[in-house]
Amino acid sequence: MQVNEKEFKPTIVAFCCNWCSYAGADLAGTNRLNYPADVKIIRVPCSCRVNPMFILRAFQRGADGVIMCGCHPGDCHYTTGNYYARRRMTLLFSMLDYLGIERERTRVEWVSAAEGAKFAATMNEFVETVTKLGENKRLEDLRCKEK
């Protein structure tokens, strides 16, 4: 496959909880379900471990989209973690929207360990959405460039 140099390749960070979504991503791999290489997964014990700071940091460092995946509501390995995560992200995303980071660049998705197909489909769709939006510059511009 010839990769077009000019083609926009978004940088996407996916936070996945160890018990459901990370396992769902593993299942997508085991079943050879493709999704774009633009998605890079960071393993966290639970979606409630995702500090809003991590997401701000990602955008600041040039991420074009951030997705957080956890167990389905009610199925959290730690009983209640994903409920906290859901509320935190709702607030954070609306604040990001206010800052000019489109709502479509951030997402929360529940993927169980058995939903490899859902994981792949979600990532395909998310990458497509973010690719359409193009490069994200808002927060990156705010950072103090180190180099």
Partner: protein, 663 residues
């Protein structure tokens, strides 16, 4: 500065085919702190592990990054490896370049680029890793088995055999489960009751086993080695310590029209009942929905005839709490409801029955005393059609997408037994595929065809039309002869798909055990850890994990017991050291963390601090009980002052990963 070694695994061709492993190890060599980088065919092999150990010693490595399969697969393996070379096991990070890279990206350049980035993220993280020491927690030496079918019974017997206490919680008034309703078992045609009831009696007599019948689990707290479980003992209005099981009450009760669930509603029982003669415990239960005394206070016959004085109309539900080290789910299955399959006229004709109903019709303890008679008119059926895959392998939304696994064999059994007992009966079996993997299984099916002359027809039934004369017009396709058939049948038997018991879903939530989309419990690893749930301390036995026949269920039940025994043998368990930790100097005592902790692992206390101006101040600060903390991290995000952090997944570590990925 860490001295980091990078080890890139080929995983045979699993990784090497779509990721240029040489390029990855070369690229990561120049990352800051990396003093050694190599690649090898199988890092998890003995040679691969020795390579890691040697490199640690030779290069004085302080951190190790392994680019390989998912950490869910071999993180534990590699932690042991580095420990063997004298390194703290938590100085290892895994970059998942198989499941998340080589297996999903077909283009080698794409795969290689991504693998390098994942490797860099792991290197960035390991720079900030600190040695962790796992704490220990005690193990309560008692197991709980939820579900008292053959799976639960076998698991309990095996655990008890090893000398541990074990409790069985069963929602029905008796243990025994579905197997009590089955007449004969394939492929040996043993009588089910003859092999099951002795095991039920063993359970009752074993002093290590306690049976909570007619009871439910209502809450589960705690974690591996130390669960606290609430069990509701439903009021049965009979004092089980007094009831002798004589059965006089069940004969004298005036309410005679209660559908008998043991016979699937094909006959009636009384409002006070013992499910069947061999029930364990053999005590009566009053059905509150039907009992006149409980409904309107008018009756009391059972109380009058009970010479043991066991009847207690005032009994209440009782909730008890018990502590366990391990929990086994053995909640079993049910045949699906056939509401979505009315083309087979199940709800229109009494003579269209399920296979489980057929079992009752051929069972000596069943409603017809074992005579195979039509439910509609009590006559002997002369033409019987069996329909396989009713609701199994169904992706239309009406049934279940999976194969129910047991139907091919029990249908062969039914067909064979019918032909043996009633040679004047014509028996047809419509099948899509006959699936008979298993010892002596295909031979068994072939006997049905060759020795018993059962007509096996490849094709499906499309419609069952009940005729006014009482026959059933079965319209079906015969794919081999390319014909549409019309068979005038007297009885149609539907091999209904099986599904997990409805109680499994809420139980999974209580246990925080994961389930698949069909509500079967998920195993920790499909091949290598088939009887463990991913949730530590929770084990799986029988059909709650997937469709199984009896021999398979029993083997899995024993396997689950072996795992439980392995756990209960330990006096202490090593805790997960990736737990929360509060920096007392930063803590402002706000209690935010305490409120979100699902385990109550955080406590506050007043502590004396020496201030910069040499005075002392008393401040309220949080402390984490490391034996109780499970490491979810909820508190770390709730903490407004940044005092709370999670070992192994610290803020700095995750930020470092973010930075590496977004570079």
């Amino acid at each position: 500065m860490q001295r980091i070694g990078v080890f890139v695994c080929w995983c045979g061709s699993n990784i090497a085919a779509t990721v240029d492993v040489e390029a990855v190890s070369e690229a990561l060599k120049s990352e800051p702190g990396v003093v050694f980088s190599t690649n090898y065919q199988y890092m998890c092999s003995e040679a691969g592990q020795n390579m890691i150990k040697d490199a640690i010693k030779e290069h004085n490595l302080t951190g190790v990054v392994i680019c390989s399969c998912s950490p869910r697969m071999h993180e534990a393996t590699f932690r042991k490896t580095v420990q063997g070379a004298g390194l703290n096991p938590y100085m290892v990070e895994i970059a998942n370049i198989r499941e998340q890279c080589s297996w999903i990206h077909k283009d080698k350049q794409t795969g290689t680029e991504k693998a390098i980035i994942l490797g860099k993220a792991a290197i960035a993280k390991v720079h900030l890793n600190a040695p962790l020491t796992a704490g220990e927690s005690p193990v309560v030496k008692r197991a709980l088995v939820i579900g008292g079918g053959i799976a639960g019974i076998q698991t309990a017997l095996d655990i008890a055999e090893a000398g541990f206490d074990v409790d069985i919680v069963e929602t029905k008034p008796t243990i025994g489960g579905k197997m009590t309703q089955i007449d004969k078992t394939f492929p040996t045609l043993d009588c089910a009751a003859c092999i099951l009831t002795p095991k039920m009696v063993d359970c009752a007599q074993n002093e290590k086993i306690h049976i909570y019948s007619y009871s439910e689990v209502t809450a589960v707290k705690g974690f591996v080695g130390n669960f606290t479980v609430s069990i509701k003992k439903k009021a049965r209005y009979v004092d089980t310590t007094k009831c002798t099981g004589c059965g006089v009450c069940t004969e004298k009760c005036p309410v005679k029209n209660v559908p008998n669930e043991f016979n699937l509603g094909m006959n009636n029982r009384r409002a006070i009942y013992i499910p069947f003669a061999q029930a364990v415990p053999k005590v009566a239960t009053i059905d509150a929905d039907y009992c006149n005394m409980l409904k309107n206070g008018k009756c009391g016959v059972c109380s009058k005839v009970c010479t043991a004085g066991a009847i207690d109309y005032k009994q209440q539900d009782e909730i008890i709490e018990e502590r366990y080290g391990a929990i086994v789910a053995a909640t079993g299955f049910n045949p699906i409801k056939l509401d979505n399959f009315d083309e087979f006229a199940y709800s229109q004709s009494k003579d269209v029955i399920t296979s489980l109903e057929f079992e009752r019709l051929t069972n000596a303890a069943g409603p017809t005393s074992g005579q195979l008679l039509r439910p509609s008119d009590g006559k002997h059926p002369h033409t019987i059609v069996f329909v396989q895959c009713v609701g199994s392998r169904d992706t239309s939304g009406c049934g279940k997408p999976y194969c129910s696994k047991i139907c091919c064999m029990y249908t062969a059994k039914h067909a064979m037994l019918t032909r043996e007992k009633y040679p004047d009966t014509d028996v047809y079996v419509f099948y899509i595929d006959v699936r008979t993997p298993g010892k002596n299984f295909d031979e068994f099916y072939r006997r049905a065809v060759e020795d018993y002359n059962v007509h096996y027809i490849k094709g499906m039934v499309g419609k069952v039309a009940p005729r006014a004369d009482g026959t059933l017009d079965v319209q079906a396709s015969d794919l081999i002869s390319n014909e549409q058939l019309h068979i005038s049948a007297d009885l149609v038997v539907l091999a209904a798909a099986i599904e997990p018991d409805k109680s499994a879903r809420p139980l999974a939530t209580m246990l925080t055990a994961s389930m698949d989309t069909n509500d079967f419990f998920t195993e920790a690893h499909a091949k290598l850890r088939p009887v463990e749930s991913p949730t530590a301390g929770v084990f799986l036995s029988g059909t709650c994990q997937g469709p199984k026949d009896i021999p398979e269920t029993v083997s899995q039940a024993s396997a689950a017991a072996a795992k439980v025994i392995g756990l209960l043998c330990k006096d202490k368990l090593t805790c997960n050291p990736c737990v929360a930790h509060s920096d007392e100097m930063l803590c402002n005592g706000c209690s935010s963390c305490e409120k979100v902790c699902p385990y109550g692992a955080i406590t506050y206390s007043d502590k004396e601090f020496r201030m910069p101006d040499r005075t002392t101040a008393i401040r309220r600060v949080a402390a984490v009980n490391e034996a109780v903390c499970q490491g979810c991290g909820a508190c770390t995000v709730a903490c407004p002052s940044g005092a709370m952090d999670l070992k192994g997944f610290s803020n700095k570590q995750i930020m470092a990963e973010v930075d590496a990925i977004c570079k």
